[in-house]
Symmetry: none
Subunit: 437 residues, 2 copies
């Protein structure tokens, strides 16, 4: 009975989840909490409100892991079959829980209603199960132990609505979990910008071996590659192993790392600027405000972010940023020259700004011109030299993969990344998607 | 081999999903599309990047249903084990696909790199499987048939990133599905702006009965209430029933409806402007570009969207939009007066624009002042009268619920909604969150 909960499975129950009408956020929420306690989540499963399938899922998972945490299907309507399925899996019959019944009657009384047979069914539980109180709703949860072939499996069933489920998990399930003795899981994220995922993999090499502990993996999203360290073992060892692994990861890809943990590129840039008491502006064409929106999303951005220009039409490029007609009529609005003028124009109009980022490109799906396919984006950074009016410009040409949304988002992230590399290292390497200079 | 795909299972693969670090949105997206085709989704399963567990999951699901659709684990790094797991489940070895290899080499060539062994592994497939082209990424998908005990199961493996997965599903998987004849599910969305969800529910009344077919439900997100119609039955009946239900919904809430289907508020506004040959600009403070980004996200926005100003700092409000110091020093940057001046300033600087939208507010978490709690947002719309310089302003005060992200996004959507109501109906009702005038 007191075997540790070294592995867990999560079960989500409901037609609306199975048919794709609602997004399941409960499984992730529970998985995160199990992982943090050193319990390895080996599976999430989602099934519809179908008695036979639900019973089978409970039985299969109980045979596989020592603890199952389930959500959904505990309500008062005809499609809530979780109680019966659990009883079937336990080969027990349902009985009425007197305390749960009293609580249901109390709720109905305060609402000026009488308890209908449908609602009363929420007080049912398998004979040997216990009810878990639900302070924020009518349906109690259920806790039980299922005797599987080789072990006993503890199962916890909670209601689906997160505002009912979360406090019930924290108050009842979490204290009942038995994480494997001493064993914990430590995770750490290290975030890089501008390095292709395959190159990150090549640099990390053997660090990414699948049988290693700590286990190291990567995920890529919009130019940002996140390296994930996961150490499992006794707490002091896991802490030290995570630190050692982090040092190894930094040695391999450190020149592209902008943050450890959940910090975004916008936060890293704003922190760098704040440390130097410097301020930035933006001048955006094809991203039309996305870069400004990313920076302004961070609380306290106003310390270092002044704002900028959405120079979508050429008139705004000319009137607000001073891009000369000879550039708009010559190399064009999507050109290295235009990006350079936009960045310098942004600085010129804002004497209090130290850095300007500009973006002009072809986000598609149409608009390509000879030599400039969809995805062609020019990004420039202008930074004042010693607070003077003189501002050297770093301008680059990119060919960014993806659809219109991808190209816009990756352009904005890349502009931020160019500023971050400049602030952090004074130089900026050749970046993902860069094709010139 | 040609048995219908009457039931499906969905498999999501990845450590980051299993341990609760990332939210899985792919399973819902795929489930929705299967359901719409009349294919019953009986299970979603999520497993970690573990070869043995992955192989077992594929084998179990293939034995249970005639079609499995999986996402994730196809990348170029060592933790991408899906190809091997599928080969193991099929009891086949991996071979290199010549076309997939040629495409990988071509991608590397255009990026000016040579193909590393790691990246080359993405061209591997089980002997009898086929590769699914991936127009938006490097990793091809895989299609195969697994011989289970009593039937053959068609399996489709797609990359995890939604922007790669979605077009591959639409182009390759959807046409390969064999829905059972007869029953279909028809869904239709009707989208409203500015009506609180409870008011929409009250207006819809009995149309929302839970035992009805078509079933009508509402979901609310950021000021937009979407009414969803879902009819299940024989195709001709379901089509007619959906049309009838749509007419009833429009009769109930039509004055707030801006679109039928997936169309966004930005698209509705741009279509309205295009029909009138009119153009708009934006002047944003607390949203810092989000409104411009929403409008510019729509392909072809440049017909009607000129751009605008991210007037985050007061200097930009003053210099670029001409907001007088007496307003900034008096009622302040977050005031009805400032919003009015920002909108008029945006129009003044852009003689070709017909409409300007301005937003200034307190997005939090800090920054509240006496009488102006977090969530206080002033939004103004200025529209030229008969193409003259004279532009009457509609300015309103809102108290918007939510955290910083919510307040910013809802502010941008509300500004768009104000313009949409003006263009569509010439008048704008009192809107959700509006507290004055």
């Amino acid at each position: 009975v007191t075997a540790p909960h070294d592995r867990a499975a999560i079960l989500s129950i409901g037609d609306e989840l199975a048919i794709g009408q609602s997004l399941d956020t409960n499984a992730m929420w529970i998985a995160e909490r199990c992982t943090a306690r050193g319990i390895r989540v080996v599976e999430h499963r989602t099934v519809a409100d179908d008695l036979a399938e639900l019973t089978r899922a409970i039985t299969e998972l109980a045979a596989r892991v020592p603890v199952v945490i389930a959500t959904g299907g505990l309500g008062p309507t005809a499609d809530d079959l979780t109680r019966q399925a659990l009883a079937d899996a336990m080969r027990e019959s349902l009985v009425e829980d007197p305390q749960a019944l009293a609580r249901l009657e109390e709720i109905e009384r305060t609402r000026g209603r009488t308890l209908t047979p449908q609602r009363r069914a929420q007080a049912l539980r398998p004979m040997s199960a216990r009810c878990i109180p639900n302070p924020n709703g009518t349906a109690p949860g259920l806790a039980a132990t299922i005797a599987a072939e080789r072990h006993a499996c503890d199962v916890f069933f909670l209601p689906g609505p997160p505002r009912e489920m979360h406090p019930m998990f924290d108050a009842f399930v979490a204290p009942a979990l038995r994480p494997p003795g001493g064993r914990v899981v430590r995770t750490r994220l290290i975030r890089t910008f501008g390095l292709p995922e395959a190159d990150a993999g090549a640099r990390l090499g053997d660090l990414m071996r699948r049988d290693a502990n700590p286990l190291i993996g990567t995920t890529a999203s919009g130019g940002i590659v996140t390296v994930r360290i996961r150490a499992e073992g006794e707490a002091a060892w896991a802490d030290a192993a995570t630190d050692t692994a982090e040092a190894a990861v930094l040695a391999a890809v450190g020149d592209f790392v902008f943050a450890t943990g959940e910090r975004t590129l916008s936060e890293a840039v704003l922190d760098s600027l704040r440390a130097r008491s410097e301020r930035m502006v933006v001048a955006e064409s094809c991203t039309s405000g996305l870069l400004g929106a990313m920076v302004g999303a961070i609380p306290g951005a106003s310390d270092c972010f002044l704002g900028g220009y959405i120079a979508y039409a050429n008139t705004l490029k000319r009137m607000d940023l001073g891009v000369p007609l000879r550039i708009l009529d010559g190399p064009g609005a999507v050109s290295m020259e235009a990006a350079i003028e936009m960045a310098q124009g942004g600085l010129r109009r804002n004497p209090r700004a130290h850095h300007a980022l500009s973006i002009t490109g072809i986000a598609g799906p149409t608009g390509e011109t000879p030599g400039k396919p969809v995805g062609t984006v020019f990004i420039a950074r202008a930074s004042r030299l010693n607070n003077s009016a003189h501002a050297p410009v770093d301008a680059r040409r990119f060919l960014i993969a993806g659809d219109r949304d991808d190209i816009r988002e990756r352009s904005a992230v890349t502009a931020l990344g160019m500023l971050w590399h400049h602030l952090a290292h004074a130089t900026t390497p050749k970046l993902l998607w860069q094709i010139a200079p």
